[in-house]
Symmetry: C2
Subunit: 597 residues, 2 copies
């Protein structure tokens, strides 16, 4: 029997009660669905995850993909899994009906992705990259391009990717050098190198369709000269047959974790025989790509959370089964040892995990709800959701990624020496989750994005909207004794956040952008804690309401406990972070590099 790797009850509580995903059913686009179809979809996802994803979790780690005869060989089950993901409609789930999709809300699709990620993150990467790539073609492609690529990505026979990074252009995408030269009939000859391409080659599929950034010869320098191309591993002839498109898999990265998904180095057009199709207009590639990148960023935060969730349940099970030591109040060695879950510090490690994984999942669902609402509403209302989503994206990507690493570490620690061994899954989770603060923009990049761009975007309209949401939860929280203290504590920190932000803008004016942004990562952490606290208050407010009819209910009570935990142990970190952010002592910006030796 499969061990528990996530909480269905909590997921559904967040979806239906806290974030009220059924609100979406009121809009035309989603009106054919109902709660029953959502539940069916999620239950089917759990079935597939338990039957196909979870059982190969360890195998995929121990037998990583191999590059043989120029082709990447992945776990042999992956082909079958991609078929299921295609035929069962997962890859196309969120796409509109006219493209063969099922118009499932992003929120429900992400919830499904979360379940899969809890079961096996490496497997999950394959279908969800395909989904994002198809989404880009759907948004910006011609009818011909849609017809050519989307059905075969959707049915799981072709893999979609995002091919951005180059040897000299990782965090700095403006330095991309892959070139595209017009070759007639709308085609471009492509040449360059792409590195760190997830699922960039695999024998689980018949073809790989790269959504690739390149620079058309003569385009302006920087991001303004980047275009987006569809560049398949095998190009499609007029008669539908495939021809090798001169994309060589030059290398396969050997990684610390997340080994089931192949990450490759591609050499493109080495024999001058690689052709791609321009997607949308020239020189707008980066702005197009941001559609997929923003989705991917939410997805990274979500999957840091999914790995940490699986680690949490594994550690919870262990701490219930393992007996060791006695309570500090009953040290008599003649008494039998107790399950270690009775020790206060083990409980602290467990509560810390629970408060993190459940709160972070709520944050990701919050973001996907804004994405759905942005899509189905219009005008000022849509703008409101867009701005809040833009503001939250760097936070939803980075805070769960950073804290997810800590959370899996706490899970590992619960097992003592066994946690360090391969007899238990914790060490694998610990290795896997470490990718998340890196890919789709490092934490530092998101700190710069948040403080340097998002907070001030549209004159700070986004943060004003967000604060309205937060204040609403505070008002609700103030009305009940179990949440009033938390509401007051958050209100105080909101003020600290505002003061800190104003202080930093003054620094920007007085000392320039380098000093202003020098501790942006700390600002991101502070913002993340505040946002998580808001989510916990939101969850607790709903739990509180439901407790009226279900007094003493353990599940609901646990939300109040997590709220207390998060506010007692985490929210207070805002105080020291703001202290540093408001300090006038400059260190990194004035550093003499020679001192580092």
């Amino acid at each position: 029997m499969t061990k528990k790797y996530y909480s269905k009850e909590h997921l559904k509580f967040l979806l239906y009660d806290v974030h009220q995903v059924e609100r979406l059913l009121e809009y035309d686009y989603y009106s054919v669905h109902d709660r029953a179809t959502f539940d069916l979809f999620l239950d089917a996802t759990e079935d597939v995850a338990s039957e196909h994803f979870y059982p190969i979790l360890t195998e995929m780690d121990r037998n990583e993909p191999q590059l043989t005869d120029g082709r990447v060989r992945v776990h042999p089950n992956m082909r079958k899994i991609m078929e299921i993901m295609g035929e069962g409609g997962w890859i196309s789930s969120a796409a509109p009906y006219e493209l063969g999709g099922n118009q499932i809300p992003t929120t429900i699709m992400y919830a499904a992705s979360f379940i899969m990620g809890c079961a096996n993150y490496s497997v999950t990467a394959f279908p969800f990259l395909s989904m994002g790539a198809a989404g880009l073609i759907a948004s910006f492609g011609s009818e011909e391009q849609k017809a050519k690529y989307i059905p075969r990505i959707f049915n799981g026979t072709w893999q979609g990717t995002m091919a951005l990074t180059e040897p000299g252009a990782g965090s700095s995408l403006s330095d991309i050098t892959t070139t595209a030269v017009p070759a007639g009939d709308g085609c471009y000859k492509i040449q360059g190198q792409k590195i760190f391409i997830s699922c960039g080659d695999s024998d689980a599929v018949d073809n790989v369709v790269h959504l690739m950034l390149a620079r058309i010869k003569g385009a302006p320098a920087g991001v303004k000269g980047i275009s987006l191309f569809i560049v398949p591993r095998e190009r499609i002839n007029a008669d539908g047959t495939l021809t090798c498109n001169d994309i060589a898999t030059a290398g396969l990265y050997h990684k610390m974790g997340y080994k089931g998904a192949p990450i490759v180095h591609l050499a493109i057009g080495e024999h001058e025989d690689c052709y791609g199709e321009l997607l949308g207009e020239a020189n707008k590639g980066l702005s197009y790509m941001f559609q997929m990148m923003n989705e991917a960023r939410i997805s990274v935060g979500l999957h840091a959370t999914s790995i940490a969730t699986a680690a949490y349940y594994a550690s919870l099970q262990y701490t219930r089964e393992r007996s060791q030591g006695r309570p500090v109040t009953a040290k008599d060695p003649n008494l039998p040892p107790v399950p270690i879950i009775q020790h206060a510090d083990v409980r602290r490690l467990l509560l810390a995990q629970k408060a993190f994984v459940e709160g972070a999942l709520s944050l990701e669902i919050q973001c996907s709800m804004y994405e759905d609402l942005r899509k189905v509403t219009s005008g000022e209302e849509s703008e409101r959701y867009s701005l809040m989503l833009d503001l939250l994206t760097p936070v939803a990507k980075s805070y769960p990624s950073e804290t997810g690493c800590l959370s899996t570490s706490w899970a590992l620690q619960c097992l003592g020496g066994y946690g360090f061994t391969k007899d238990f899954p914790q060490e694998q989770y610990y290795r896997e989750v470490r990718i998340h603060p890196i890919h789709e923009g490092t934490t530092a990049i998101h700190g710069l994005d948040l403080l340097g761009r998002k907070v001030m975007a549209k004159n700070g309209q986004g943060i004003m909207y967000l604060m309205q949401e937060v204040m609403q939860e505070i008002s609700t929280g103030e009305q009940h004794p179990d949440t009033a203290a938390a509401a007051a504590a958050l209100k105080k920190r909101i003020q600290i956040l505002q003061e800190t932000t104003m202080h930093l803008f003054k620094v920007a004016q007085q000392e320039g952008p380098d000093v202003f942004l020098s501790d942006a990562t700390l600002y991101l952490e502070m913002f993340g804690i505040m946002v998580m606290s808001w989510q916990w208050l939101k969850i607790a407010n709903i739990a509180q309401q439901q407790l009226v009819n279900r007094p003493g209910d353990t599940f609901l009570q646990s939300k109040i406990t997590c709220l207390k935990y998060f506010f007692e142990y985490e929210l207070i970190k805002v105080d020291y972070l703001s202290k540093r952010l408001k300090s006038e002592v400059r260190i990194t910006t004035q550093l003499n590099e020679e001192e580092l030796d």
Copy 2:
């Protein structure tokens, strides 16, 4: 050429200038030495580490030990290395002359161990376990036992171990069940299971001598019935030949990191043919073992620091060589990219590492100096050093272990995507260092030790002595503008620490030991930050004095910079930790476990 894996300049600055190890030469026991012999020893250590330890760092990780035909096969170079460790006098370095040792101060021996650990922690475990085991026999063994075991442990042909942990007795040593039955002529028949025994079997040596905890039949329950035995893998016949002693290697742990050192499961006396010798008196085993455990605890903190040190220098080199992006003040894409060390957040990650690894090394040297001074002084003075060492041991074990994990994570982060790959050593360091918050007592155990035992031991005499030391550095620091702010900040936190401690003792009286100790891990962290701040102030005070004669010296200036970094970014965490510790909201102690599901 070997890349830099530690800073000789910093190590010697700490030894000679900050901690003034030459003070030890004034005592008879160490009087034959001088700075030149210390330097020779350390330089020879670096040579061996560079020639033999560092080159097999990756190999040992990729080819972990194997259990074949009942014997553990380790890296083939290990036999040669143990010979060198023996013949070159490393294993015996700190032992007295009469035992064939060289009476090197513990401080210098630990400094050598640090250099080795920076080069390759797995290799270092072998000789240093031998050293500890021989030390136990030297302290508590009969002349016959000393003659029988010590020379062959010292010459590297036999391996020493500490065999404590059992399947049901890890953190809870009082539950040890391995039995010893008198078998005449001072021998005991031993039977039981030992798990997680480092270097518990290996083909690098001809024999393994286990210093093993067991319970003599009829002994009282708990720690009062534990005795210490010498139990060799092959027992020594009267004619000097060896006979298999019925200790089977039942299993080899497959670990996340630190793979070069074999950790084994031993089945002892399965054929009722295992014999051991009692070491010292019956039922005093645990108190004897604490000699080796306390050394091992300092050693764990030291080696968390050594791994993080090597990771720091690897990341420093990368950030100098890797160009990516542009300063936030010069975003023109036509300008060439800059080395990433110029980006503020990369500098923050580097400074965070430097401040941690250099400060933590100072803390470990501080502890070993107290150990040396305790040994060569007497009466009240010796007691003073003993008490401070006892108090600092849980901190010196745990703070560097926990922060070492973060520090190697920062090192990994400096490399972006490459940090997650096996192309660079950071991912290995990240896996290796994770053992340290676990072995030799988990962090939680040390939190309980610090708050529940050490702080109040001898009516708080130890903490009073320590505070005198800290106040002395504060007085010195107050006298110079570059250190005055730090001195004032530390003074304030000392007061917070005292208030928090007093508050907790009140809680102990009013609410009992379970509530009192429930957040002991946070108390340990707070104490650790305070102790590290003290070390940085001590370092900076010396740097300040030397800057008078070497104005603008980069090396000395870097110490002032690290002081500022640590105080600006780390010391302030004391404020939120104390806030939680003084809070009256009880969570873990009142938790309904069912809520965790």
